[in-house]
Symmetry: D2
Subunit: 349 residues, 4 copies
């Protein structure tokens, strides 16, 4: 079969690989739709170290091709979604409530990290009964594939943000994860959602997904503006959805005492992320910093699919580009270099 | 001034009372709009014991008439909302995180219980800085007055229900509090909200406020139907919004192991509320039973007002009847006897 | 091998069974020590329905006899503890945070319920890597076996009770689970632990495990006495460790508004468990009712073993009787009929 | 009356001040015992900006000298403890669950910050009913005064650390707050408490208050040693009780994915506190950072007094020095310059 791989740091391309086979509890899925993620670029740039001929991609839906002998709930032909994170559910970290950290820190992140990813004609899924979810007939593949990572990660930002009904939330950066954090803040009942973003197209999407107001960091001082908007109180929750030291600092500054800084950003560089001392109340202002990695698993995916089924939002508006799998090299370039005002690139198989 | 009082158990009517005066930290408010609550009927029927010439009513907005010497944030002329519950914020129960229980069980419920209520030309508010909230210009008095109890109590049902994003929620009974619990479940991100109700008008409102499905207990077995709708799993959260033993039992039965029964119903009669033993997993199925009394306070009211300002919902669709204060006797009768498909009765001053 | 079984409702005895064999992820353990539990009596009386020749027992330690091909962390010869509850960790209920409910309500309770228990020369353990824990050299088998259910369940009562440091806790009934709830309350930092018990030997153990005061329900009105002890405030947390309707009612009555009734009792009979309406604040006094089933799993067991290793308490003082496995019939009778002031019966193999 | 004040940055001394008088809800207390805190040194060094003739000190007990007209629960002659933090309980931050932040960030910290402190013959207490606690007869003044800040702050470190029963905790630095965090970790049920400290006397106290093991940073690499002690897993909870950038970094490094870094340190200098990027899992390892300011209030103080009454620990072993109020200048010097292996300096009046 065809697979789109990271050949080594900085170099990608196609190669042939054998179709994977399932162990007793596992499944192999024939890919139908996939999305390219900024994390794929991080990986290719060496963010998680060197890899050789590793198939990229962690956001996909498809049709079950084969299942192992112990799989009970899925059969070949089932149309399925798989979370970007496929935990080992019996691991100590999972028993501790943190399946995304199973095995080791970030260990639930297996696709395109600890094993081949989903940019291939077929891909392998560990513990199929626990990590697959059936896609309801009413949902398109394109809608469903957004649950794998974008909804799961973005919503997590809101969930860990401890948002009170009617509370005020700022979401820093409105890339696809930030947009879904914005939608998540609305889903948790925020009374005011402030999207921080400078790109016009993303500002528009932010409003569509629930931002009540937009702060444009290219023309305004974000801290000043948000203090002004909140009457000097600051926000209940600041969601960092970029992964930049300066944005993180802003998040701490605009959060009120007793509020939460919820980080969903992946910090790709630098030795430190810096907390501004005075605005953090010299360590005593009850400003909690929460973090996490995209939740995976069948239950999570089923709940996210239900959100879409119930028409709470339509994630496909984030698809700015669609390419066939054959055109993967160009598709990856568009996503990687953020060409043509890209938000999200969909791959069809 | 004119006040509408409970003269004794079972008897209501107008009487003259002096305009109250504020102590140093308190305020007196000139009433502009009020709502009649089912609890007013409970009180008149003797639910909280005998009272003599107690002014009824706990849901009101108005204009600040006078403030005590220590009030810092409000001035005569301010248009304000006051929560139905006006806690003593320094009390031990408040320090413990339960201001509605300040002083004694349900002690934050002062209006028409421990002191005169709001069905009068003027009413007194303890600790004005902590218990009043300014009404934004964009909101009508009628919208704002729904925050005092209906939104605060109904939303609490959802908040205490520990609803996961995409989770399944049943709201048992779609009276005004149940309707706002339905809206609250949507605000917390439920992926499926099932409203249980038999009255057509309330079913319609339930759909408007967020119910995805309606189960009509007059024509279906609620437990069977909900098990069917949830593939036999039960709901994540069941909100009891009636206050009846049988409804409470249903709530326990339809909740999945690990789920939450969130009670907002006021149980007005009987010696016991009964938990069905087997369906409660013989005490070991991790089905939590949560309860509470309408949260009050300025912060809560400000957040609820923001929900309205941001147009997340419009509570005024619940107003089925409007009467002038002069017509209070008829108004009370309509609410008390549930005449003319009443949902909520608004009183103008 | 020899197994002690429930032949049918009401009848127990020995029988021969083949030594079990492990599937790929499982293990078979040679039993060294086991404890008899009141639940074994419930089961024999038909509490979970009819069973035929089901091996009884769910509290045991032993030596790993054989492991399946996929087991990574355990080898034959390892001295191990297994939790009474052995969840399916990938199940939806486990993903939802409630592994004890995996598969169905109480489904993690597999031994002597859904499969053969531990009163046999050998027993089978599903998902060995996730459900076994190595016993440290410093601990005796007898100490370790108390972790399987007694510590795990009793401590859970305290953990779910939301005990504040310095808070006041009542533990209703000082059987072995109640005693460990008492110890758990102390471990969570309670400032005052009130043990309710009438039997002198159990009162003495209660004091040893951390009760600051004893209330004897045979000579005092428990509600009155506890109100008196708490200056009329009630307790922060009441732990029901008996499983009786009347005790549950007492628990609700003595808990302060905003407090928690934490149930660890197994309610073996009756159609309902009854909540006293007025003392529950007519449903609005913020008195939460929490429940659960003994947490299992390797992480839990490792943490409990650490509590013993660190000498925080010595559970072996609860062993009032020791029998060899050959004497199981007499041993079971002593436990079942509560003869000779029995607290806990240890079985040696 | 005599008061020991900060005359300006860097300069302390005695001066005469009038005895304060109580407003209606307030009290004036005649001081009997006080403790000097490291924060007093921070303040004198300018940590919270310039002050002129501000009375220092925030840890004290005494006898009620006078009460305002609205005080209900206290009378002159009562022996009382007052928390270091005396919140405005009606403030929005208090309503939000963070009374220590009332008014503004850290605003509950009034003594020796927003008003005169307790190093004087008499001191003023706002909202006496909410902020005073009666001292039980069985407790000495010296024991009680440790509740004001040391127990409250140290225990908070453990409480916010989300310690599981049997969990592993490291407490970084064993000054008086660190020692009480160590005691707090034990009170919450930690199965292993690792105290990090280099001073022999503090190591000894750490063991007394509950450390199972000591890591001496002057002779060992803390990160390596703790990874070794925990089999490479890291701790469930790391409590930072020093307030130094390097210690904070260590806390992040030794915490397992899914664990909590609980900060009680006051960071007195530098523009930033730095989170090590890789060990924080590039922002995605579910390592929560919690913070807070010493909880105050009558309920908190009553609970802490109960911990002492129940003999869970004896804080007076931290008193290394005792001086009469007359000798305050020398006493302050000993504490400020950390002379003579000082742990805590008690002042008698």
């Amino acid at each position: 079969m065809k697979a789109f791989v990271m050949k080594e740091i900085g170099r990608v391309g196609f190669m042939d690989k054998p179709v994977p086979e399932p162990s007793p509890g596992d499944a192999v899925v024939k890919t139908t739709r996939a999305l390219i993620c900024t994390s794929d670029s991080h990986t290719v740039q060496g963010g998680i170290g060197p890899r050789k001929n590793l198939t990229l991609g962690h956001e996909a839906v498809g049709i079950v091709h084969a299942v192992g002998s112990e799989v009970k709930d899925f059969r070949p032909g089932d149309r399925v979604l798989v979370g970007a994170i496929t935990p080992d559910w019996g691991d100590l970290a999972s028993q501790n409530g943190f399946p995304s950290q199973s095995g080791e820190a970030l260990g639930g992140f297996q696709f395109a990290n600890r094993k081949d990813g989903v940019f291939a004609d077929y891909f392998h899924v560990n513990d199929a009964d626990a990590n697959l979810a059936r896609i309801p007939d009413s949902l398109s593949d394109e809608a469903a594939v957004y649950c794998a990572d974008m909804l799961s990660t973005g919503f997590m930002g809101a969930e860990k943000g401890n948002i009170p009904i009617g509370g005020t939330v700022a979401v820093l950066a409105q890339g696809p994860v930030g947009l879904m954090a914005t939608a998540g803040a609305r889903l948790r009942g925020a009374g005011r959602v402030i999207g921080v973003e400078s790109v016009a197209g993303r500002q528009k999407l932010a409003r569509e997904y629930g931002a009540d107001e937009i702060v444009d960091f290219s023309s305004e001082d974000v801290v000043e503006r948000i203090q002004e908007l909140t009457g000097g109180q600051g926000v209940d929750t600041a969601i960092e959805a970029l992964g930049a030291d300066i944005t993180f600092q802003t998040a701490v500054k605009i959060t009120k005492p007793g509020g939460t800084i919820s980080n969903v950003g992946y910090f790709g560089e630098g030795e430190f992320i810096r907390i501004p001392r005075v605005e953090w109340g010299v360590g005593m202002a009850d400003k909690t910093i929460a973090t996490g990695l995209c939740p995976g698993g069948r239950l999570r995916m089923e709940r996210l699919l239900r959100v879409l089924e119930a028409k709470r939002l339509d994630p496909t508006h984030m698809t700015t580009h669609t390419f066939a799998f054959d055109e993967m090299e160009r598709a990856f370039e568009v996503s990687d270099k953020k060409l043509e005002d890209v938000v999200k690139v969909l791959i069809t198989f």
